[in-house]
Symmetry: C2
Subunit: 192 residues, 2 copies
């Protein structure tokens, strides 16, 4: 999606350690007109696919998912919560996600009542790098028995392999910007 790629080139910053900062418009300050265009594009890409619900994970996915949902007939958005601890009270699906950014494992939960067996789900998130967060959401979806129709991702860091691993498992992954290479020294970013 040229609009998003251009914005990343203009306002994104490459930092050492394969970090791409897009906090000016995506995940700290949010450009909701951009989010709206992204939602429109995902709706175009997934046209004809049944989507009953959008699943995302706090915090950065929420705004994107909520604005995008308007283009999917206002389907409900459920966001997985980062929990203090895994609470095995039986009302929640839970899993554990390792964050490379924060270098620690954190528990993630979704209330069982918000994922119903047989529902068709689109998973939306701001970033896809190694795929740890999305694999965590997938595990929850498998346990819940929902049908994952695909992934709507804003920025995929293609060179980190998480997206292709999902594609190899047969999942549809629609990344609106897919970074092939980026360089912290020169600041250059190239897209697939």
């Amino acid at each position: 999606m040229k609009l998003l790629e251009d914005r990343i080139r203009e306002e994104g910053t490459v930092k050492p350690g394969d970090v791409l900062k897009v906090d000016a418009f995506l995940n700290h300050q949010c450009d909701v007109a951009l989010f709206d265009a992204m939602g429109e594009e995902w709706a175009r890409l997934f046209e004809g696919t049944q989507i009953d619900k959008i699943l995302t994970i706090e915090a950065s996915g929420i705004g994107i998912a909520c604005v995008a949902a308007r283009h999917f007939g206002n389907v409900p958005v459920v966001f997985a919560k980062k929990a203090q601890s895994i609470n095995l009270d039986g009302d929640q699906y839970s899993t554990s996600i390792y964050s490379f950014t924060k270098q620690k494992e954190f528990p993630v939960i979704v209330a069982k009542k918000f994922l119903n067996e047989g529902e068709h789900v689109l998973i939306i998130d701001d970033f896809l790098a190694n795929g740890n967060a999305l694999n965590g959401l997938l595990k929850i979806c498998e346990t819940a028995g929902v049908v994952v129709e695909g992934f709507g991702i804003a920025v995929e860091k293609g060179f980190q392999g998480g997206g292709d691993a999902l594609r190899n498992r047969g999942y549809r992954v629609e990344s609106l910007a897919n970074v092939r290479t980026m360089d912290a020294e020169t600041g250059s970013i190239e897209f697939n």
Copy 2:
């Protein structure tokens, strides 16, 4: 706002300890059509007031703020982040907020570049109870030198006093549902 009050009566649950659960439509599963109506109502209430930016706090405020921003001419939404620790690198405004729900203090940060002196800001959040989170955001706004034009709140628990304390300090607080009393035993909820 009758639409929100009715929804709270129908799907909200009162729990012991003054807890009102609205996770079916507001802060775990999100009804984006409801968020859109809420945004429209805040835009009506704040009509004629200059709003350059919307400020909220992760996680539950983000979806509401992003959908509402469309009714304020797509102004940018900035969400304060709950940080692991306060990082005094000079690039961030930070404060500490005590959460009664989680019974602990947590640091909150906003990058300085996203709050510019003289900007007119509307603060949006899902809940206003004792006002701790909003007072934290206010402190950051005061340090940044932005003009806080008011607060757009989904659910105020009026009996906990945080909203009136802000009103007594001269702030405009527009809560779309303001709970006067609620009872965990009978499940009854009454609004102001």
